[in-house]
């Protein structure tokens, strides 16, 4: 459905996307996971035919974005990072007017807009001003808007960035429904929990390049242990303490505020730390996540 080979994007001296390959199948939820500035949004814009590639091959829905931008955009639903809603129009009009941009017939667009408002749980707000909506509502409205042309694929750029936890869960629930109905979802995120929740398959990107690819669980199995022990000794003593716990678990990462000990059995690792006479201020055993995968692959945290 979407296929890239050696895809590159260069802005002057800066290489935003550095020769990446990926293939997205119909009906799957595909994620780009990486920190800010990894080149995720640029990749999304190239897929959406609003940004031209510097080199490489890209096929979207059987077309080359270079020559068939309008054909591609007609079949995609776009949810940009900042909501970019039409603040001069009411909620319902945002959907209707957007549908008209695609050249869809007005009576159809009006009917479809009501259904999508219902889907986005915004029926009560249909006459409201956009600038009065909460962040979560705006994002749901943007998603509803992206669905107005019954797209073959939805492109979601950081769909839940900036939302509070409750609003994120409402949004995930809506995206799940789309997935169940067979809509292809392509999303970028720098939240590992989001990638784990939504993506069937993902690529981890860093500095414009893909560093790993697979399903969330496979990536965790491959690049991390089952559990992680997090211990804090205070910001000035973490490094010193890390030296003293050397050898516990299969790997140790020292972050500015805490030390991570990778071990399939976190409790056992904790006991070992205590045995060496160290008393951390706080300690916590948790399951490995994509955050740990990213740390392992790049030596840096996702959210800096």
């Amino acid at each position: 459905m979407i296929e890239a080979r050696g895809l590159r994007k260069q802005y002057g001296d800066f290489t935003a996307v550095d020769g990446i390959d990926f293939a997205i199948e119909p009906g799957e939820a595909f994620g780009f996971l990486g920190p800010n500035g990894a080149g995720k949004s640029t990749t999304m814009r190239m897929i959406a035919a609003t940004s031209t590639r510097t080199s490489g091959d890209l096929q979207v829905l059987g077309f080359d974005p270079e020559s068939h931008g309008p054909e591609i955009r007609a079949q995609l639903g776009i949810v940009p990072q900042a909501d970019q809603l039409d603040e001069e129009l009411r909620v319902i009009d945002n959907l209707v007017v957007y549908g008209r941009y695609f050249g869809l017939p007005l009576p159809y667009v009006k009917r479809r807009a009501e259904e999508l408002l219902d889907f986005a749980q915004l029926t009560e707000k249909r006459k409201a001003r956009v600038d009065g909506l909460s962040g979560g509502m705006k994002r749901r409205l943007t998603i509803a808007r992206g669905l107005i042309n019954s797209p073959k694929a939805m492109l979601l750029d950081e769909p839940t960035t900036g939302l509070d936890p409750q609003a994120r869960h409402v949004l995930w629930d809506r995206l799940f429904r789309l997935k169940e109905e067979g809509t292809t979802l392509v999303l970028t995120t720098h939240y590992m929990d989001e990638a784990e929740q939504l993506c069937d398959r993902l690529v981890v990107v860093d500095k414009g390049a893909i560093v790993a690819e697979g399903s969330p669980s496979a990536l965790i199995r491959q690049y991390s242990t089952r559990e992680v022990l997090e211990v804090r000794f205070g910001s000035s003593r973490n490094a010193e303490a890390a030296e003293r716990i050397e050898g516990i678990g299969s790997r140790i990462e020292v972050l500015p505020d805490r030390v991570l000990v990778y071990d399939d059995d976190g409790e056992a690792a904790m006991a070992a730390v205590h045995e060496r006479g160290l008393q951390p201020i706080t300690s916590l055993v948790r399951r490995s996540s994509l955050e740990d995968v990213f740390l392992r692959l790049t030596g840096r945290s996702l959210i800096e």
């Binding site: 068939h68 007609a74 940009p80 001069e88 957007y98 008209r100 941009y101 042309n149």
Partner: protein
Amino acid sequence: MTEQLLEAPAPTIRGPLRGLYAGNTRSVVARGLRVIARNNWLIVVTGFFEPVFYLLSMGIGLGALIGTVEFYGVDVPYAAYIAPALMAVSAMNGAVYDSTMNVFFKMNFAKLYQQMLSTSLGPLDVALGEILLALFRGLLYACGFMVVTSLMGLNLSWTAVLAIPAALVIAFGFASFGMAVTSYMKTFQHLDYVYFVMMPMFLLSATFFPIEVYPQGVQWVIQAMPLWHGVDMVRQLTTGLIQPSILLHLLYFAVMIVVGLWFTTARLKALFLR
């Protein structure tokens, strides 16, 4: 759910405009009309008053001090002399305001064009749509102003009716250029540069007094500016003192429109589809 979901029709435009134009300018215009109807009709309507204020103040007050002014050999009452100029100025102001301030806001804050260009619309649809909206506004003002000047007896010939399409030509010229210029602006302060150009043009383009008061060199500079052509054209029509030079004025604006449209489309493409 509706039984049958429709997909967006594929663009049908072929040839050199392919990818630039989707033949769907009407959806951009419809959006603008909806905004005017729901939100800012009051702002649009009140814009009509500014030239009327100028006409009443300068026409009555200054007119009493000045009496008549000579235009192509005929003495014209001062109010009748400035009325066509104010009409041309209001066409220019409306078009420039719409295509600079409003477009700047839509580009940089509302991100409206990013929204439009992520659909199957092309940049030329957007540019044409915005310009048509500016023209619609210009048409409203021109008609309203025409009513006022007719009531005040300031139209000296039947050819004054042609001042309305002439005002639209002026607005078209400025609007098609304004949008391209705006696309280079990055901060609100850059909009001030528009003021630097507009203000002198407004005050000096034979609006309130003939340019013969200036030295020859200054006259040439003024005559190179679009507003002077607009003022002289509308004034020929409302006074009925039509000269062959009106064709030159029309040609000036025709070139301005074509170049402006090309320039704007190229800029939109460079900005949003790169």
